[in-house]
């Protein structure tokens, strides 16, 4: 049963990721990306990592992908991904694939073993994360701080309270208003 579920989720993950890469519209890509996140979360659940499964949904779907959607919605252009958007990911993906192959050949196969514990894995995680892994944890804090400052720096300009999107200043009066001088008795045809 677990095997069938695993293969379903694995195929789902790969399929959604592929669709996210090759869909012509960015909006569709984002929706497929969300599908991929859900499948990965299911895989975590199969492994018994409940905490990670739900955190993946809360953070990646509930925050990251939501932000993507937010930005795509407010951008006026419907971006169709041209050659430029397609090539670099392909190259990087290919390189990573080669690296993975080399890694698998050079390193002996060690399949991670599921450790059965009586306590829930949230507790197991909490007990080591803040004591044993305290240094990576604090580094995480510094990274978040950096991200906060960068976010402000990107979207906030000195002296101007609001930065607005560029394309909105492009609207001219002539886009909104047409002046015509209709002939008498004819009216305007739209």
């Amino acid at each position: 049963m677990t095997e069938i579920l695993f293969y379903m989720l694995a195929v789902g993950t790969i399929g959604c990721t592929m669709a996210a890469l090759f869909m012509p519209q960015v909006m569709e890509s984002v929706l497929f990306l969300i599908g991929a996140f859900f499948n990965v979360s299911g895989l975590f659940l199969l492994l018994g990592a409940e905490f990670l499964a739900f955190v993946l949904i809360i953070l990646n779907v509930g925050a990251v992908a939501l932000l993507f959607l937010f930005i795509l919605m407010t951008l006026n252009v419907s971006i169709t991904k041209g050659g430029f958007y397609k090539k670099p990911p392909m190259v990087i993906g290919g390189l990573l694939l080669i690296e993975m192959g080399v890694f698998l050949i050079l390193k002996e196969h060690t399949v991670p073993v599921l450790v059965k514990t009586t306590q829930s894995n949230t507790h197991a995680l909490g007990e080591v994360l803040y004591t044993h892994y305290i240094f990576p944890f604090q580094i995480m804090g510094v990274i978040l701080l950096t991200a906060m400052i960068i976010a402000v720096g990107l979207l906030w300009e000195k002296g101007r309270r609001h930065k607005r999107q560029e394309h909105q200043s492009d609207v001219k009066a002539s886009d909104r208003l047409t002046l015509t001088n209709p002939e008498r008795g004819k009216g305007i045809k739209r």
């Binding site: 677990t2 659940l45 199969l46 018994g48 409940e50 905490f51 955190v55 809360i58 953070l59 509930g62 925050a63 990251v64 939501l66 932000l67 937010f70 930005i71 919605m73 407010t74 951008l75 006026n76 829930s120 894995n121 949230t122 507790h123 995680l125 909490g126 007990e127 994360l129 803040y130 004591t131 305290i134 944890f137 604090q138 995480m140 804090g141 510094v142 978040l144 701080l145 991200a147 906060m148 400052i149 976010a151 402000v152 979207l155 906030w156 309270r161 609001h162 930065k163 607005r164 999107q165 909105q168 609207v171 886009d175 909104r176």
Partner: protein, 119 residues
């Protein structure tokens, strides 16, 4: 952990999904539809919509989204900490205080910069 615990969740999803689709189909079957051009236009006070471009947006919305993302990560870190504090004790407590201290710097920076004001 037992995967069968999640079986009711799956069944809930199936039943709720079935109900939603059923109601949608029922409404499609029962309701008359007489679409006209004017009826299918997007709503605008009395006249045809002028253009279909996205209206201008305050960039503050993006900023709110980004800050939400960062704070959400931070809050998620609090969850395993909260349930195990009785085991990790003072060490865990001060580890988290230090972590939050770092992030408070960012919060104060934003506050002073005026990012949190919405005017």
């Amino acid at each position: 952990m037992d995967l069968t615990l999640y079986l009711p969740v799956l069944i809930f999803a199936l039943v709720a999904g079935g109900l939603v689709l059923g109601l949608l189909v029922l409404s499609h079957l029962r309701a008359k539809r007489l679409p006209t051009k004017a009826k299918n236009l997007a709503y605008e006070c009395g006249f045809d919509p002028l253009d279909y471009k996205t209206p201008p947006f305050n960039i503050g919305f993006y900023l709110v989204g980004l800050l939400f993302l960062l704070f959400d990560v931070e809050v998620i870190f609090l969850f395993p900490w909260a349930v195990t504090l009785s085991k990790t004790g003072q060490y865990g407590f001060f580890s988290m205080v230090f972590f939050l201290g770092i992030l408070t710097i960012g919060f104060i920076y934003e506050w002073k910069k005026g990012v949190l004001d919405w005017t």
